[in-house]
Every structure is written in structure tokens, then in C-alpha cells.
């Protein structure tokens, strides 16, 4: 009997999924530090819901306006494209002074959910197909999805590389930033747009649970160590990528649900860093700050 093929032997099967998952994990992990520090942890869930409305609208446009065919309009009204567009548009809502607050987030989540069901009842496509298009499972990822996720990570990294200092200033002290000449709302919109882009792209390849988990867990794990801002973002991005990659490998190796395994790996980091932080505090050591 021939030996069972190893994980590496199956690279053609998992390559796209692994690359997309790690890219999503890196992006979500890094952004998660901002999400946690700005105390808007439920915004990612609401963004996913808003993106779902985009998918349903795409179905409606195709059925009632465009019909079958291939054109520029068809390409622009693809479910994935409209999901991304609506998610980014939601940044204008969440960036308002109270936009990221729990009430506004709750309203967005509920309104998004209701809109999906109401508009979904008008299309012939089953609502489960809509969910299937919006929420991936990280197991089967198309090459185009992989490149989309990598491109989104690149855009998000570039924006944060350029605007990092201004995001920090506007987040820490918006009034002073405004007095210094920065347009606070525009900066907040840009910051939230990076959240929305990364979350909707990641949800598409991983699913809602791991996308939420990878936003939250690596960031909270790193913040427990009380490191500086840049170090925290870099480390959380690393842990996010590692959680996604290791989670994918373990799920493949032991035949476990992929998204849940990624979340479980994230939980391990959270547990470890909390123990480490407690040991450091007991030992009287001051963690690096700065």
C-alpha cells in the first residue's frame, strides 16, 4: 500500500488557500490593534453584514437590469466587487464621531441583516448561495481570490505606512489634530476603509468567524504585553499570519474545521501572552514601552 501523501505533497491543493489565509491573517492581525484600541471590536461583524447587502444587490442588478452576458457593467456589478464597494462605503458611516459606538454598530448590523433577507427574497438565487459567495471557508480558494487578498493586504499596508503617524494623532487627540490642520473625519474614513477592505476580502476567503477571530485575538494577545504601538501592530500582524497558516495546517493534518482551528490557535496566543504578562508583572519587570 503506498504511503499517504504528506501535507507538502499536496501543495497544489492548499497553496492558494494557504497564501490567502496568511495574507488575510497578517492584515487582520495588524488592523486588529487599531480596532481593539479604538474600542470598535464589533465593527468588523457589522462590515461583513453590510458587505452581504452588496452581494444581494449584485444579484438584483443582474436579474432585473443586466441579464446574462459579459460586459464592463457585469464585471463592475460582480457580487464580490459590490460587496467590497459597500463595505468600503460603510467607512463613511463608522468614521463619524459616534459611528464606531456600540449603538451605531448594532444598527448597521441589524439593518444589514434585514436588508439581506428583504432584498434576498426578491432574487431567485437562494439566500444560501448569497452566503456561500460572501463567506468563504478557507479550504477552497480560487487563484483570483488569493491575488485579491494579497493585493488588498498590499494596499492596506501602503496606506498605513504612509498615514501611520496621522492615524495615531487623529485617534489619540482629534481636537488637537484638527487644530493642527488635519481633517479628522477624512482620516477616520480612510482608517475605517482599510478595516472594511481587509475584513470584507478576508471574510470572502476565510468566513466570518475566523475573520473576526483573527482581527481580535492576535491584537488582544499582543496588547496584553503592553508594548509600543508600532511593535504591537507588527507583532499582531505576525501572530495573525501565523494563526492562519498554522490553523490551516493543523486543520488539514488532523481533519478539523479550518476556520475554528485558526481561531483556536489565536486563543492559544492570547492565553500564552496573558500568562507571560502576569509573570512579568509578578517579577516586577517593566515591559518595553515605546
Amino acid at each position: 500500500m503506498p504511503p499517504e501523501p504528506s501535507f507538502l505533497d499536496n501543495w497544489a491543493f492548499w497553496l492558494e488557500a494557504m497564501v490567502a489565509s496568511v495574507a488575510a491573517g497578517i492584515g487582520l492581525g495588524g488592523l486588529g490593534v487599531w480596532v481593539a484600541l479604538k474600542r470598535v471590536v464589533y465593527v468588523p461583524l457589522a462590515v461583513s453584514q453590510v458587505a452581504a447587502v452588496g452581494v444581494v444587490i449584485a444579484f438584483l442588478i443582474e436579474e432585473f437590469l443586466l441579464g446574462d452576458g459579459e460586459s464592463v457593467m457585469h464585471a463592475l456589478c460582480e457580487p464580490s466587487v459590490l460587496a467590497l464597494v459597500l463595505a468600503v462605503a460603510s467607512a463613511f458611516y463608522f468614521a463619524r464621531p459616534q459611528g464606531g459606538g456600540e449603538r451605531a454598530t448594532g444598527v448597521a448590523w441589524v439593518a444589514g441583516g434585514a436588508a439581506v433577507l428583504l432584498l434576498g427574497s426578491l432574487v431567485r438565487t437562494d439566500i444560501h448561495d448569497v452566503q456561500g459567495i460572501l463567506f468563504g471557508n478557507a479550504v477552497l480558494v480560487e487563484r483570483s481570490q488569493m491575488w485579491t487578498t494579497v493585493a488588498v493586504l498590499g494596499v492596506v499596508a501602503a496606506v498605513h505606512g504612509l498615514w501611520y503617524r496621522r492615524f495615531l494623532y487623529v485617534s489619540f487627540d482629534p481636537v488637537s489634530a484638527a487644530a493642527a490642520g488635519f481633517h479628522v473625519y477624512r482620516h477616520e474614513v480612510l482608517l475605517y476603509a482599510t478595516f472594511a477592505l481587509m475584513i470584507s476580502a478576508a471574510t470572502r476567503v476565510l468566513g466570518a468567524l475566523p475573520a473576526f477571530g483573527l482581527t481580535l485575538l492576535p491584537a488582544l494577545a499582543v496588547l496584553a504585553l503592553r508594548l509600543g504601538m508600532r511593535t504591537s501592530v507588527a507583532l499582531a500582524a505576525g501572530l495573525g499570519g501565523l494563526s492562519a497558516g498554522l490553523g490551516y495546517y493543523l486543520s488539514f493534518r488532523y481533519d478539523l474545521p479550518t476556520g475554528a482551528t485558526m481561531v483556536a490557535v489565536g486563543m492559544v496566543w492570547l492565553g500564552l501572552t496573558n500568562v507571560l504578562a502576569r509573570v512579568m508583572r509578578r517579577g516586577g519587570r517593566t515591559a518595553e514601552v515605546g
Partner: protein, 260 residues
């Protein structure tokens, strides 16, 4: 009270300005802040002092009228009430001071040697060097205010605007902070200071701005012209008396206890 430098130029000029967030808080007013002046902005709580100072420094647009800053890119350092700061960000006091340099950089640029030197100078000038590497959130109220003043200095601000800087600062810290602000004014910095404690706010001031929301009025001018018992009594709705000490100003509610 200290005297302002003799040669001065207008920095902020409000022309028939109406302040407020969506609706008007007070009637249109004129006000000119010149270099080297120390403005104490006082009035009852909830009267619009914060709205006024934010409008003057350009963080808020006036509901109507004009607020002109000269030059247009006038550098203003603002020390907000601390509850307006986002808590929990992993920033040291030095990081906060460095944020003041951000407006001086082009997009994507980070701090260079000149920026680090400017931060160290600002920390030294405010006595904040000793806790520069401590997490900002772990500092006392007075230390946080010093770091925020240092941020304004690092920003090479021409105007330092402070919103109730002595709020929640202990007595020792309050005295030291007011003396620091007075010292910066003596060195030539223009000051706008909001204070609900009238005495400390007015003690070093050259000008006073009385915000009277109840009557929809702002009265502004040199201390000698504006700061008197009759006006204070009218604005606060209680009979007030002013007592000038050697190194302080006390304001009392007549027949009662000291108001500030």
C-alpha cells in the same frame, strides 16, 4: 499680573463670529488675540468656553461670521481636557510629545534627529524629561498636562491653548502647572486658557474673555477693563468680590465662601 510685549501683531481675529455646534450659543462678537497676550476665558460651566477656544484655534468652524488666523497656517498647540483623549493607546509621554511634530512632516515621513532634539528640548522645558519613557496613561494629571504642553512646544506653536488644564490636578501640581504656563508666557508665547477656577486663570492674564451664555454675550478685553465685580456678579448670577493678593487673585461669593 504680567505685561505683554509692547510690539504685537494680531494672530487670531474673530469678526462677528457666532460659536456653537449647530445652533448659536451666543450673539456675534469681535475679538482679536495678539502676540504675547495671555487670555483667560472664564464663565459658568456649560457656557461655551470650550466651544469658543476650539473655534478660535480652528478646530471648529464658527456657525456664522469669520475667525481669521494670521498667518493662515498659524501653529497652535492645544491642551485638551484629558477626557477628550483616547485612553489605552500604548504611547509614552515622549511618544505623545513627538505627535506634536506630525503636522511638520510630509506624508509618510517619520521623526529625524531634529525632531528628537525638539522633543527633548520641549521635555526639558516643561520638566517632563524624568517621566518621558513612562506610559502616558500611567502618569498623574499634572504630569500628563506637562507632557501635553511639551507637545505644543515641540510643535513650535505660536499660540498655546489650554482647556481647563488644572482640572483634576492636585494642589501642588496645579501651582507648578500655572507657573509653567506663566513662564512660557513671559518667554513670549501667546496663551489662551480656559478655566473654571477664576483666580488661577486670571492671575497671570493680560486679557479676559467672559462667556455669558445665559445672556448670549461674550465680553472680551484687557483685564482692567473687563474683570470687575459687577460683571462677574452678573455673569455668575451671584454677588461676587475680587481680592488681589501678592501672588494670587481670589474671587469670593459675597456672604459665602471663596468661589475660586
Amino acid at each position: 499680573m504680567t505685561s505683554a510685549p509692547t510690539v504685537s501683531r494680531p494672530l487670531v481675529h474673530a469678526r462677528q463670529a457666532v460659536i456653537g455646534y449647530q445652533s448659536a450659543l451666543v450673539q456675534p462678537f469681535d475679538l482679536t488675540v495678539c502676540t504675547g497676550e495671555f487670555w483667560a476665558i472664564i464663565g459658568p460651566n456649560g457656557g461655551g468656553k470650550t466651544t469658543l477656544v476650539r473655534t478660535l484655534i480652528g478646530a471648529l468652524k464658527p456657525v456664522s461670521g469669520q475667525v481669521v488666523r494670521s498667518p493662515a497656517n498659524l501653529r497652535v498647540g492645544y491642551v485638551p481636557q484629558r477626557h477628550n483623549l483616547q485612553r489605552g493607546l500604548p504611547l509614552t509621554a515622549a511618544d505623545v510629545v513627538m505627535l506634536g511634530r506630525t503636522p511638520l512632516w510630509q506624508l509618510g515621513r517619520g521623526p529625524g534627529n531634529a525632531d528628537r532634539d525638539a522633543v527633548l528640548r520641549a521635555l526639558d522645558r516643561t520638566g517632563a524629561r524624568e517621566f518621558a519613557e513612562h506610559p502616558f496613561d500611567s502618569l498623574s494629571g499634572g504630569q500628563q498636562q506637562r507632557a501635553l504642553v511639551a507637545r505644543a512646544l515641540a510643535a513650535e506653536a505660536e499660540v498655546l491653548a489650554l482647556d481647563e488644564p488644572t482640572d483634576n490636578v492636585d494642589l501642588t501640581g496645579e501651582g507648578e502647572l500655572v507657573e509653567l504656563i506663566a513662564q512660557l508666557h513671559r518667554e513670549g508665547l501667546t496663551i489662551l486658557m480656559v478655566g473654571h477656577d477664576i483666580g488661577p486663570a486670571v492671575h497671570h492674564a493680560t486679557h479676559v474673555c467672559l462667556v455669558d451664555r445665559q445672556r448670549g454675550r461674550i465680553t472680551a478685553g484687557p483685564v482692567a477693563e473687563v474683570f470687575d465685580e459687577a460683571r462677574l456678579s452678573e455673569v455668575y448670577g451671584r454677588p461676587m468680590s475680587i481680592e488681589y493678593g501678592d501672588d494670587c487673585v481670589h474671587v469670593h461669593v459675597k456672604g459665602g465662601t471663596r468661589a475660586a
